[in-house]
Symmetry: C2
Subunit: 430 residues, 2 copies
């Protein structure tokens, strides 16, 4: 894949970064690369995720899901990193097997989905490393109950993806369910290339080896210079732009199939780098649609943001019929793909013309290989950025307060955080 | 509906706003309200949108869509404000009639959707005020062609929503298609409560009078003080928080059915206020899911953001079966709704505990009335904020550059913007 930083340079944009500044930053990139390589060599927590293209055993995944070869639908019960990697692949790639995700505990949504599914034709994958995630376990209990009500033997239709110990592991042991291991040292948001992200894709019939091949190609390009590694080019440029005022990073793919990828990126970026008062705020956008929604702000609002464009350079096209509608003759006889390409190039240029920094990421196609490249590239970019910010990339301590408060509110123990909920300050207008 | 600013006060949050500062700001709110009322009284461009609860003729809408009473699916072909209002209602409310939207020109997505639809059972609504929007017209040409290929008489299955003149109006006249008028003085992003947003809902069998009733109730609450009007309370508070450093506004509903509402809000806020170097950047989030994705950043990242929570206080619930899974007994016997409520309150409190400003918006239910209230409230809040920022709320001049460039690239005329596309600065790493 290709990363083009041309429109992030200070000759184009403000904030922008000079070539000299990038060269100076490259010394820190070299050091960070060394740190990352050491972490990878020692399979340290987090860094181990960058080894997944080599360490993931796709045969094991295929064999675990073999009992579900007849499934017409795969339902992943998981939240955050336990769902977004699989969802990125599922929504990025076509399949005759539909994929659904229970990644929220909205009762109306859960009921509507369960009413729609033919549970006897569904494979259910319950994903939680700890086996204690409240939302996931609650949804699992509801799904299991729905299967029993539908006279479906849930033990025939369920497998788990979890750590070596915990509730889900015990459950799998007790009921002899197929179980996949969440690998050690891989935080949820970095787990797409493991059992966590690939089991759903395997059931959908996707070539999960090709996903890893694409990732492997990017891993091979990691090097001690941002000018030699697409991942580090992106990670270093975003860090430099943030330092210069671009605290917002709008991820704007020009492909509907990459809409979930933008959500996956938002988690990766926010949860890894958002700490110690640092970190860009990721914004999810979609080309060309959001030209008619967000572009006014991106061009004419505060100069506090950068836009990351992603596009495949090849895609199946569809022609636009000729037309005699006055003023629209120029569209007729063209194609939707050409129109989308023109919109992309025009939008990119329009941001440059108004001095708003932007970066272009290109893959050949939105296919297994391309998604593997793209996601690995951004994971490595994120790890590099974490080194440059000097934050603890692989933890997320700030979410614990709310988990304890929620657990206390639900009667799951005594937590002082729950008491603070009752003390809410109010100023109500109605 | 209720707006609670308690967690936006400087006694809780930083940035935060003091009660005194709100009182001082209230003098400007009174002036702005007067300006808004004058604009409404004169049906001025933009301000006229706040009169839609009174001026929209729902009988006209129902009668225009009557030929499509048998439709199993309604397909809206439109982009930006021509789609998002209708999509907010369609995705917010249950219906036996499915709604789809062609709001992008991705050829793979368009082909996949058209392959899936039974076009003879579909009502197609082509929406463009000018009748020249490239994406919409290109998609219409493709849809019409697909209907002809499927031996469906497109003139039987199509209606248009457009201005008094232009291509779509001419097309409707020539082929005797049902046509709805886009009302004068109503920019796309403010058009949900007009023909533009309500035709799709009418075909889906929703009570569009109730949508307007909810909006009307909020219109009646507009008053010369932010302490008396939920809409102005929200508009003034966001403005004050932005002035104090909260340049990002994360819209985080706790209801899956409000996911598209957050996109609608993002357009309203970005395109209306994003000008002259001003305007908050809207971020779309979803509770409880994004607690596992964005919350780490919101709590521990830069203090440059506020979170807007939206929740219905009533919803259909679903119980969680009892369980003997160790450590999860506290979940069993509860309900998904209680869990979601606890997550909401815990997350809100967790942001307050770390000093991050947040605002709570509450409606009774996600139904026609509630959506009418909510969306009108935010439209009026946006108009108020525009007055406080002193920006031209109802225009979007910054998107024109890219439109001309794209048109030039596609051979639709000579535009110097298109020449700049070829001069792109590059710094490629691959």
């Amino acid at each position: 894949m290709r990363v083009d930083l041309g429109n992030a340079l200070d000759s184009v944009a403000s904030p922008g970064v000079s070539r000299d500044a990038l060269s100076r930053l490259d010394e820190r990139v070299a050091d960070a690369h060394e740190r990352i390589e050491t972490g990878r060599a020692d399979d340290e927590h987090g860094y181990a995720a960058l080894n997944l293209p080599e360490t993931t055993d796709t045969d094991e995944i295929r064999s675990a899901v073999e009992p579900f070869a007849d499934a017409e639908t795969v339902l992943t019960v998981g939240i955050g990193g336990s769902a977004l990697g699989a969802a990125t692949l599922a929504n990025g790639l076509d399949s005759d097997v539909d994929a659904y995700f229970l990644d929220n505990v909205d009762p109306e949504h859960v009921s509507a989905l369960l009413d729609r599914l033919s549970l006897s034709d569904t494979a259910v994958n319950v994903v939680s490393r700890s086996g204690t995630t409240a939302e996931t376990l609650a949804n699992f209990l509801v799904v299991r109950d729905a299967m029993e009500s539908a006279n479906v033997d849930w033990t025939d239709r369920t497998f788990v993806t979890t750590g070596e110990e915990g509730n889900l592991r015990n459950l799998a042991d007790r009921h002899d369910l197929p179980a996949l291991d969440v690998p050690d040292g891989v935080p949820g948001r970095f787990s797409m290339l493991s059992t966590v992200g690939l089991a759903c894709a395997a059931i959908q019939g996707h070539d999960i080896d090709a996903v890893l091949d694409g990732a492997h190609a990017e891993a091979d390009r990691l090097a001690g210079s941002l000018f030699e590694s697409p991942a580090y080019a992106y990670g270093a440029a975003t860090y430099a732009l943030d330092e210069r005022g671009a605290g917002i990073n709008a991820m704007m793919p020009y492909a509907e199939s990459l809409e979930t990828f933008a959500e996956w990126f938002a988690q990766l970026w926010a949860e890894s780098l958002g700490k110690d008062g640092l970190g860009q705020t990721p914004v999810r956008a979609l080309g060309a649609t959001d030209q008619h929604s967000q572009l006014q702000l991106y061009r004419a609002g505060p100069s506090d943001k950068m836009v990351t464009f992603v596009r495949p350079t090849e895609r199946a096209d569809r022609s636009i019929p000729e037309t005699d509608l006055p003023g629209l003759e120029y569209l007729g006889g063209g194609s939707l793909g050409s129109l989308l390409s023109a919109e992309f190039e025009a939008t990119e240029a329009s941001l440059a013309a108004s001095g708003q920094p932007n970066v272009r990421l290109e893959i050949d196609r939105v296919d297994e290989y391309g998604l593997g490249e793209l996601c690995y590239c951004l994971e490595a970019a994120c790890v590099l950025a974490g080194e440059l910010y000097s934050v603890e990339t692989f933890v997320q301590p700030a979410v614990e307060w709310g988990k304890r408060a929620a657990r206390g509110l639900l009667g799951g123990g005594n937590f002082e955080e729950a008491d603070e909920v009752a003390e809410k300050s109010t100023l109500t207008v109605e």
